[in-house]
Point group: C2
């Protein structure tokens, strides 16, 4: 499959889909390896490639998806992986720390230091050597770094999962000695009057009370989530579904209980809605903006240089996500699965804090969110690529694999550490609602992908049966119409396929 | 650079160098993406690609280095990475172990279990998702597995390196409770008479005594090392150098002290020599054998199927190593560096056993050798590719990076854990020999890459100065000879380059 945002070590390694776009020279230069894909353009491309070495050529590439990318193939110091340099510096650091510094005699301290050193060496290795993902801006090493962090976080979770509840909570003390103590009970909900006549100085004080740091957090969170999901409908569904989940689970986690206007007006409409709106606007800009990558030293003006530096923080190219959930059963189940995992990851944020005794304002909670912001986009893109591959031959991307594993592991920790909370039965009314919802989805699935299909196929067969006699009536003298029934069958089946995929 | 032995997820992903080999159709099919690289063949290739989907095409590829590879592009169940399947099985295993089994209350046991589980999850991730190296036979997952083992081993070494000497030795008890006790002193050397007249029943008993398990181990080791290094001269140099090292260091490690005939006749000539000879024969066969990869189900006969299965354990394609150490300074230093690291890794085997109190017959010692056998070949190939890249733009391969880091870390452990042994001064005679050897290498380097170059350049300048007047004398009427001095300069400089690189 095409990966328009991928770029190997600064040189263009974009795979074109093999079709010739009229506007695109479509030369592919991969580490000095030239693979022109349009026979009629090949001579022109060869000439282009000759120039490539002198870095004067203009290579517009059609990435096969949404946008054209221009890249002059600059591969400066900035772009290289510096494998040998990192190895050398690492060696020097190890020599200094282990041979020239005196080793402390404290076993616990040394153990901690050994683990931290192992993680740092792993990061050194991963940042220079791990497999590149779909993103390359601002630098491939940035995304390799987050991949390694993902691995470390998942391994940490696995370790925690295998401890007893008491040991696991106390283990957090190694990270921050203030952790490992039970959280104080908190009051949520409370007075839900929007206009409180009892308070004469400020009757709207209930609203101002809710205007805390979570308002910009919600807005920013949904802005970023929109950039990840790149689809208005999916964002809205997840946003609304999460409020339903808060309603459903407020008997388990008291901080889910909010006033109705907090749920629907402030969260869904204002914070999330505005975030999604701004996200969609940014997506529109990203899908329209030109993707021209020139080496910084090839740009003559200072303004151009500054613009180029700023654009380094925008994607290398752009892929518009078209989830098309109703196009076939596989995509439908995949989209349901993505929404499910997304909501599960969001719930994990709250449940994990609860079971591991993490105060909501602790920096680890914030770090986890920063982590998810960085890896979520890559994972979503990889899932989209995986879904878009019709043959299932492609691998599920590494980041998507890890994020899925992390979400599952976090959920398992929640279940293992606090089965009592998780098992608190849902109120009858809530159960009914969920049962109804699941039934509706199930019925729709059944109708859309099975019953409707059968009906369509039946109609198609009837239509074909009506056509065949007409074919037979035709005289069999012309060589072009020698196999009319066969061709009709082919057309018929391909039409069925098209109808099923529409 | 071309990586003829690489094969992405079973589909051909070989990078052709862009030149058309007359015998090779050179169609590149990478996950359904077609990149024909010869414009004149493109129509033929397109047709070929159409057939590719029906798996009937015949794709001969010129890999640009040594051999032609035929691959019908079969991408069956066997070749896929099964990312989703592994993720699903992993999830099920985690659910079973952590939720359905009761967690033991023993903190130490749980810690151990948590670490083992983390390593297993890391292996699950790595085997399916890590970056592929240059080798693909018998299966890319095999080499991904060893890459992950390399990472785990390096992190383990780093952890050990940060402990105190006592803690580090005792830490081995967690792996095997029998470890962590000082090794008994051993006698080596002894009677060196080949023919012992005092022993009437068997005067050659000293020779038979040396015929232990180390004889086949030496032979097998050097057979494999030859396959790694792929060069008779380098193998012989390393083999002889190691015996010199044994002589030099027998005052530090008593088990280096052997009889003279044990060093030179049994080790160098018989075991190593025979191993290298057999290795070179195998290399010859590998460079000659045809590289034809058909899907197992496309082969009609049973004999063919069995042969295909056996050939699965031979490389995908073949690259002959031409180290050419004298071609330029960079290659010369690189080859010296490789020999140095190789010998250091061999010495580490003995010193590490000594400082970590590992009995020579312990299974961990054997496992480390099995490990090096598996990763050494990949590392050597990656170093060769890296050296062969004229522009330094390529990354040093991941396995080579890790093996270098491991060798350094092992050496640092040796230095930190037993500085007294390492610092035992060399006998004066040995020091003299080494000094002489290093001086000789240094002088040769100086002469070959600096003095000889200056002489050549001086001769070249003189020759050109003699030529230029002849050029000026020629009339400037012919357009073809309009810039004779410029062309002469170009020729001259390219000739200098050629001379320097020869």
């Amino acid at each position: 499959m095409t990966k328009p945002e991928s770029k190997k070590s600064g040189m263009a390694a974009i795979s074109s889909t093999g079709k010739c776009a009229a506007s695109a020279a479509a030369a592919q230069v991969n580490n000095g390896l030239v693979e022109p894909d349009c026979p009629d353009h090949s001579t022109h491309i060869r000439a282009n490639v000759m120039k490539q070495t002198s870095r004067e050529s203009m290579n517009w590439r059609n990435t096969g998806v949404d946008c054209e990318v221009y890249d002059d193939g600059t591969n400066t110091f900035f772009w290289r992986a510096h494998t040998v340099t990192v190895l050398f510096i690492l060696t020097c650091a190890l020599v200094y720390v282990t041979l020239l510094e005196e080793t402390p005699q404290d076993t616990a301290y040394n153990t901690k230091r050994g683990i931290v050193a192992s993680i740092l060496v792993f990061l050194c290795f991963g940042v220079t050597q791990a497999k590149d993902g779909p993103f390359t801006r601002p630098h491939p090493a940035y995304w390799r770094f987050w991949l390694c962090v993902t691995v470390v976080y998942e391994l940490f979770l696995i370790f925690i999962l295998f401890q007893t509840v008491h040991d696991g909570r106390q283990f957090m003390k190694y990270i921050d000695p203030k952790l490992g103590v039970p959280l104080p009970e908190r009051d949520y909900g409370g007075n839900c009057l929007m206009y409180d006549p009892g308070n004469t100085t400020d009757p709207f004080h209930n609203i101002w009370d809710k205007m805390d740091g979570f308002v910009p957090a919600h807005f920013l969170g949904w802005y970023i989530k929109t950039l990840m999901i790149r689809d208005w409908w999916m964002c809205m569904i997840i946003s609304v579904m999460f409020e339903f989940l808060e309603y459903s689970l407020e008997h388990q986690l008291p901080n889910f209980s909010e006033c109705w206007w907090d749920h629907w007006i402030m969260d869904v409409l204002l914070c999330n809605g505005l975030g999604i709106y701004c996200g969609m606007k940014t997506l529109g800009w990203l899908s329209m903006k030109p993707y021209q990558w020139q080496g910084l030293w090839n740009i003559p003006t200072y303004k151009g240089k500054i613009k180029r530096i700023a654009f380094q923080f925008t994607p290398y190219s752009w892929v518009k996500f078209e989830w098309k959930p109703a196009s076939n059963l596989r995509r439908w189940l995949a989209v349901l699965g993505i929404i499910f995992m997304f909501l599960l990851a969001e719930l994990n944020t709250f449940y994990l804090k609860c079971v591991l005794w993490m105060p909501p304002e602790h920096y680890l909670v914030l770090l986890r969110l920063v982590f998810f912001v960085n890896v979520g986009g890559v994972a979503m893109r990889e899932i989209y690529d995986f879904m878009d591959d019709p043959k299932f031959h492609k691998k599920l991307g590494q980041q998507a694999w890890l994020v899925a594993a992390i979400t599952v592991t976090e959920f398992l920790i929640v279940v293992k550490y606090d089965p009592n909370t998780i098992m608190l039965p849902l109120p009858f009314f809530i159960t009914q609602c969920w049962f109804l919802g699941i039934l509706l989805i199930f019925t729709w699935t059944l109708w859309r992908f099975f019953i409707r299909d059968i009906t369509l196929r039946y109609k198609e067969t009837r239509r074909r049966n009506q056509e065949v006699p007409t074919d037979r009536e035709r005289p069999l003298g012309n060589g072009n119409t020698a196999t009319p029934s066969g061709r009709s069958k082919l057309n018929g089946s391909s039409e069925t396929v098209r109808l099923r995929k529409s």
